[in-house]
Symmetry: C2
Subunit: 184 residues, 2 copies
């Protein structure tokens, strides 16, 4: 399974868990979720739908008329729902580290109805954000923004740090709430 494919498939499964949709509508929702960053071509989406259908994760009913060409309304099968939860509970490492993929996981994490499984996923992201890392190194030592002269490279470090802090504080708040719900 390729990486991008995995993310696209997760988005398809996630949106279909919300409600049955046809391909065109699915495409619009995916465009809203990740499209302002990187649009998805139709010729990528339709093959992905076919893959999932062949794998028995979704079923299509053909609806004539309505708009123009006959619509294929897509519904998640029981296996599809199971597979969605499986993927949400155990995302690949790239899904944790790449912000775009991470946001896709977050967008559907509520479908993982087990609060402790949700906690586990959030903790993986937290561990990643806490690992000391930079974009530039001196030997093995990660450089801090203050140590970099180039203003653009400093910008990268400055922005990354702000993002990381904002997300960490959100993660702490959310994990507190989740744990309170689990314990209480």
């Amino acid at each position: 399974m390729r990486h991008n494919a995995a993310m696209l498939e997760l988005a398809i499964l996630g949106f279909l868990h919300d409600a049955p949709l046809h391909g065109y509508e699915l495409r619009k929702r995916i465009a809203a979720l990740t499209g302002h960053v990187k649009p998805v071509a139709e010729s990528t989406l339709y093959p992905a739908i076919k893959r999932l259908e062949r794998a028995g994760l979704l079923a299509r009913r053909t609806q004539p008329g309505a708009g123009a060409a006959p619509r294929h309304v897509l519904t998640l099968t029981a296996e599809g729902r199971t597979e969605l939860r499986r993927r949400l509970a155990h995302p690949a490492d790239v899904d944790i580290t790449d912000e775009n993929r991470w946001f896709t996981v977050l967008a559907f994490l509520r479908h993982l109805d087990d609060a402790s499984a949700q906690t586990e996923v959030l903790e993986r992201r937290m561990a990643f954000l806490r690992r000391p890392s930079s974009f530039f190194y001196e030997g093995d030592r990660p450089l801090r923004a203050e140590e970099v002269e180039d203003p653009f490279r400093r910008g990268i470090l400055t922005i990354a740090r702000a993002t990381s802090q904002a997300e960490l504080s959100w993660l702490r708040r959310t994990l507190d709430t989740l744990r309170a719900a689990t314990d209480g």
Copy 2:
């Protein structure tokens, strides 16, 4: 030209503009720059080097011994330097909107020695960040964090907003400095 390829090639050209390197060292630098987010496979890097070599953008000198296998030390050609500046001056839209690609552009933007060209690129990013956009919509209207019930989706919007504000304030500061340098 494919999108990922374009970014990988930009990173190769950019690092080689800093200094001549062999493939293995190049790989480590790219891993530091973008690898904690998404690692680059060797079997992706070496073909990319070959493409650039065929295009006359870089040259290789074979150095025997040193470590183990003979090293191929890569140097940018004059056309390579020109091409790097061309790509930095006119990044594709995805390079502006996708944070990972944007950071790659930023990491080498100093090689674009024309301050007004640098300004232009930063302004494109600024325009993108200012466009009202969300990850979730009600019809055509982008939803704000407060309007979303799901805590995880709220998180996406909260984090994205914080990131966006941090970057906008950095952009404003940097653009001021750049413009002062150009006018003065």
